[in-house]
Symmetry: C2
Subunit: 152 residues, 2 copies
């Protein structure tokens, strides 16, 4: 009746038991101070989920890549306050705010003075992110708030 | 470049701006004290998401339906502590624990002394839930912890 693969993944202060934090190269070229935990949906026995639930944490002063792709994101902020570049605008975000990043929209998450943690759910099958060209970056940076915040 | 449909849904103490709480009949036959907010993915312009992100909140002493279906659930607890019947076992859950409910597994979420709030992400296309038959209920209730907790 009940299939074997149901499970609970226990949380421990924004870590999860048996879920390693993916370590990115610290202070990469286009991102800074960010880790990723893949929580649900990546395992083979969870492929009935058409999506993958990941948790990202950005350290104070850090940011994710400024990028876009054809797959959308469904984001729910879990901790901290920060700002997100979403297309050509900057939004403040706080716990439990939700963000829809539509196909093709450039986006970048910036932590404030404390770690910014958020769930980011994506379709299981998805395309690779692309960084902005110089022209695209200039178009984004027409908005002064975006220009001040954006890192690439 | 950026498509129009990107958006931020602002949270206000476990409510969300412009997101109505779906009200169930209070104290229904097989659930009690539960509301649902559909946060992301249900709108037509968000159909590029293959999934829908909902937030459920169960009031103290309340519970969701004991049910199963072929679509799986990806659950992340956001507030409160409670217990979940997952197949033939009972698990304690607390904030940021994740639960994978596999296809066909009976499940029921029970709040403890405070509201239990959780995200529940599902495939956009999914089947309807089914309640247990008498035989199925008896099979589940072989476990004493399930028997004590289950409501139907």
């Amino acid at each position: 009746m009940a299939r074997e693969s149901s499970r609970v993944v226990k949380s421990e202060r924004f870590g999860w038991r048996d879920v390693p934090a993916a370590t990115y190269k610290e202070d990469g070229e286009h991102f800074k101070g960010i880790t990723r935990h893949t929580l649900l949906g990546e395992r083979d026995e969870e492929r009935a989920l058409g999506f993958v639930t990941r948790y990202f944490e950005v350290q104070p002063g850090g940011y994710s890549s400024l990028e876009r792709h054809e797959h959308p994101h469904a984001v729910v902020i879990l901790r901290g306050r920060g700002r997100v570049i979403l297309g050509e605008r900057v939004h403040e975000v706080a716990p439990f705010d939700c963000v829809y990043v539509s196909p093709g929209a450039f986006h970048q998450f910036h932590a404030g003075d404390e770690p910014l943690g958020f769930l980011c759910v994506v379709n299981r099958v998805r395309d690779r992110p692309r960084l902005p060209s110089d022209e695209e970056f200039e178009a984004l940076a027409r908005d002064p708030a975006v220009r001040d915040l954006a890192r690439r």
